[in-house]
Point group: C2
Chain length 243, copies 2
């Protein structure tokens, strides 16, 4: 993967916002229909992993892309700082407990990748340990894929300036204040360390498990790209209602 | 509660389908917004219980009313025949494991009420045992309400003729075939026994936990009534984004 810093965080110039928003509405309708066949067919599980810096729009993507689908076939799991119980287990234990069964779409808001991001930025693991964990993750994902789970990994890519703006909004906008966390600004100062850790995450993943880097400074483009990728993935399955 | 057989399964005469469908679209938009405040405020949990005969539209209600909300704040749990593990516990054990935390909307597709329906119809419990279970359920729900959970219980009320039509569609419609279960027609023959069991369920619930009987022969009216009840319930909470 090329240097993240060289990948634009903005929509390509030839993409028009109003057209894209219209397209998103159509994609949401398609997703609603495709999900029903996916559920009925029960051949695959779909695991969608959302990663990105604080304020990169993980919650917003879920709210605006997935608030068109049947919640009976979709589960969202947000991974926070591991609990005391979770810490007593290996780092994939809590992930395993939240894997989707066939016919389900499971969205991970943060994921096992936090375990090779946070500890790296905070100097809790050395290079070899990180490398080992990354190999474990690759093998784990390969195992899932061989067992019928489709994995889509989105890295929501924002600029440092955009993050700054969004953190300010959390302080001033009454509808966003509840999301404000006093630790956010502290973590934001480690921007470069996080970028480096993400670079390793993007570089080190297996060939069959590529990350999709989503330019995410503009929410409308981010939502469109995520929705479009999922619809294309489901369409490629050539699904049918079972007899 | 009056005799279920005397309650209409159809929309009132003065309700117009096209207006109601437009109203549903508005209600879905309101629900999307209200849910966000509900989640942010984190003061209550909302438990929505859907019960009704086979084909009464539990799945359809979820698909058409709730496919407008953020799946991050909504979980659907379908209760099937108890597993071997579940049978080794009391009948509320599996229910407890699926209760919503504050800020979440939890939908039960069938529920603990199955435990005073199926065993009654199949003669597995005597009157006294059923009565005891019902009291346990009432106390359980009161406990939840006192602990900040709002409970909405919908009985989707269809006619025997409508059920017959819908079961036929499951055999002939390629998009519905996957829902067909060879046991459905066998259970349908016990219509009167189920109606009696439901009558007891509706009659025996506590004053603070009334059932909402939803005329459900027409899907458009059913969806509207469920959506409208939920929106009114959330609006009455006078919620605010926290500071």
């Amino acid at each position: 993967m090329k240097d993240i810093n060289d990948i634009s965080t903005q929509a390509p110039d030839n993409i028009i916002k109003s057209d894209t928003n219209e397209e998103l509405l159509k994609l949401r309708q398609q997703l609603f229909i495709l999900q029903n066949i996916f559920y009925a067919e029960s051949k695959h599980a779909l695991l969608i992993i959302l990663q990105g810096m604080d304020t990169s729009g993980k919650d917003g993507t879920i709210r605006h892309v997935f608030s068109c689908i049947n919640p009976q076939g979709c589960i969202v799991k947000s991974f926070k700082t591991p609990t005391e119980e979770e810490k007593l287990h290996d780092f994939l234990w809590r992930i395993y407990a939240n894997l989707p069964e066939k016919r389900m779409i499971q969205i991970f808001n943060r994921s096992h990748y936090e375990d090779i991001l946070f500890p790296v930025v905070h100097g809790l693991l050395d290079k070899k340990e990180v490398q080992e964990r990354h190999e474990m993750i690759n093998r784990f994902e390969e195992h899932l894929q061989k067992s019928g789970t489709i994995i889509l990994k989105f890295y929501l890519h924002i600029s440092k300036e955009e993050q700054h703006k969004r953190l300010e909004k959390r302080v001033t906008n009454p509808e966003k204040k509840w999301k404000y966390n006093s630790g956010d600004k502290k973590e934001a100062k480690k921007w470069d360390d996080y970028i480096n850790a993400y670079q390793n995450v993007l570089d080190g993943c297996g060939k069959n498990n590529p990350w999709i880097v989503v330019p995410a400074d503009e929410k409308w483009y981010r939502n469109y790209l995520v929705a479009n990728t999922i619809v294309e993935t489901l369409e490629n399955l050539k699904m049918k209602y079972p007899k």
